[in-house]
């Protein structure tokens, strides 16, 4: 890959100063490709932070057009874009921030059919999708292809985030072995809540790709912004997990 230019060294000077990151970390981000699915309340801010940080390539997957109810939290969408494509709006806004960024805008949500190809194009995935079947499809492909997965989620004033490292940590189906029957596609949330966990998700991606700090591997960070309670919780791997388990039962599935 191309080395950092003098212009890039100037743009990223303040983060290159971060101990343990430096020019090597910045070069790693430039060489990296990340899938963000979708670019809604979570994914908009994840993508924006990664674009600002100098990621080389983003694959953005999100179907549909901008609706009024997107605008409280989907910060890459704007009022004048109502009715137009979400990923096109996201692409335009990100390019305004970072014209060096390569963007692959996919006007589809992740499915069982396209997950292998989309995950195969990147080094890391940030899961920002609202439906568990989408999340499970990304999780399965990340485990099969050995790609890290940062999993972000929110509800009301709460959020949860963990980083899944294939072969090292529990995977999403270790945690949720079924599509949660009570989960609904639409739910209450503030944009500041999705934005908060999205910034943490972007930071997890930067840490994994830039080899700096300690990601939330095997740890679920939960937060309730109503009273600013943050908790780190240790997660269990399921040996009989059909996706990542190592038991005879799991391997036979």
């Amino acid at each position: 890959m191309a080395p950092l230019t003098d212009h890039e060294k100037a743009v990223y000077e303040w983060q290159i100063w971060v101990p343990g990151f430096g020019e090597a970390g910045q070069q790693a981000l430039k060489d990296a490709s990340v899938l963000v699915s979708r670019v809604g309340g979570l994914g908009s801010v994840v993508a924006y932070e990664l674009a600002a940080a100098g990621i080389g390539r983003l694959v953005l997957a999100h179907a549909g057009d901008i609706k009024p109810s997107d605008l409280n939290r989907q910060l890459l969408m704007t009022h004048d874009g109502l009715g137009s494509s979400r990923v096109e709006s996201a692409q335009r806004r990100l390019k305004e921030l970072n014209p060096r960024l390569e963007i692959v805008a996919v006007p589809e949500n992740v499915t069982e059919e396209n997950a292998a190809k989309l995950v195969g194009e990147v080094d890391l995935v940030v899961d920002c999708a609202p439906l568990f079947p989408e999340r499970f499809a990304m999780n399965r492909q990340c485990i099969q292809q050995g790609k890290p997965l940062v999993d972000c989620a929110m509800y009301d004033c709460e959020f949860q985030i963990t980083t899944i490292l294939p072969g090292q940590t529990p995977c999403l189906e270790c945690l949720f072995p079924e599509d949660p029957p009570a989960w609904r596609r639409e739910f209450p949330v503030f944009g500041a809540v999705s934005g908060t966990v999205a910034c943490l998700g972007a930071m997890e991606a930067i840490k994994v790709l830039g080899d700096v700090g300690e990601p939330l591997a095997g740890t679920l960070l939960t937060c309730d912004l109503r009273d600013m309670t943050f908790q780190r919780r240790r997660l269990l791997k399921r040996e009989d997990c059909p996706v990542c388990g190592t038991s005879t039962e799991a391997l036979s599935k």
Binding site: C128, F132, E158, P177, S194, L220, T222, R233, R234
Partner: protein, 93 residues
């Protein structure tokens, strides 16, 4: 003995509170805790915590303190003063 039960996200919305202290007759499992609060707080909470057979739903995570516990773990005994968290699955959007 007494334990604190914490509720998150949708479970908290349905329970109508973030946490409560409950009394137990003696040592029990995390599944016993789920059944006790489901019984005490009505069918809406029972519906999200338990399946049609009265077993805790696998998609609800349970923690004793900071540590996840499996619902079928009968060796982990809930003790006086413990905090048990029932974590609702949430997502993006």
């Amino acid at each position: 003995m007494q334990v604190t039960v914490e509720y998150t996200a949708q479970i908290k919305s349905i329970a109508g509170l973030a946490r409560e202290v409950i009394k137990l007759d003696g040592p029990c499992t995390v599944a016993d805790i789920a059944r006790q609060v489901a019984s005490a707080r009505g069918e809406d909470l029972a519906g999200i915590l338990l399946d049609e057979n009265g077993q805790p739903r696998p998609s609800i995570l349970v923690f004793r303190g900071e540590d996840q516990v499996r619902w079928d773990d009968t060796s982990t005994v809930v003790s006086d003063g413990d905090t048990i968290t029932l974590l609702s699955p949430v997502s993006g959007g």
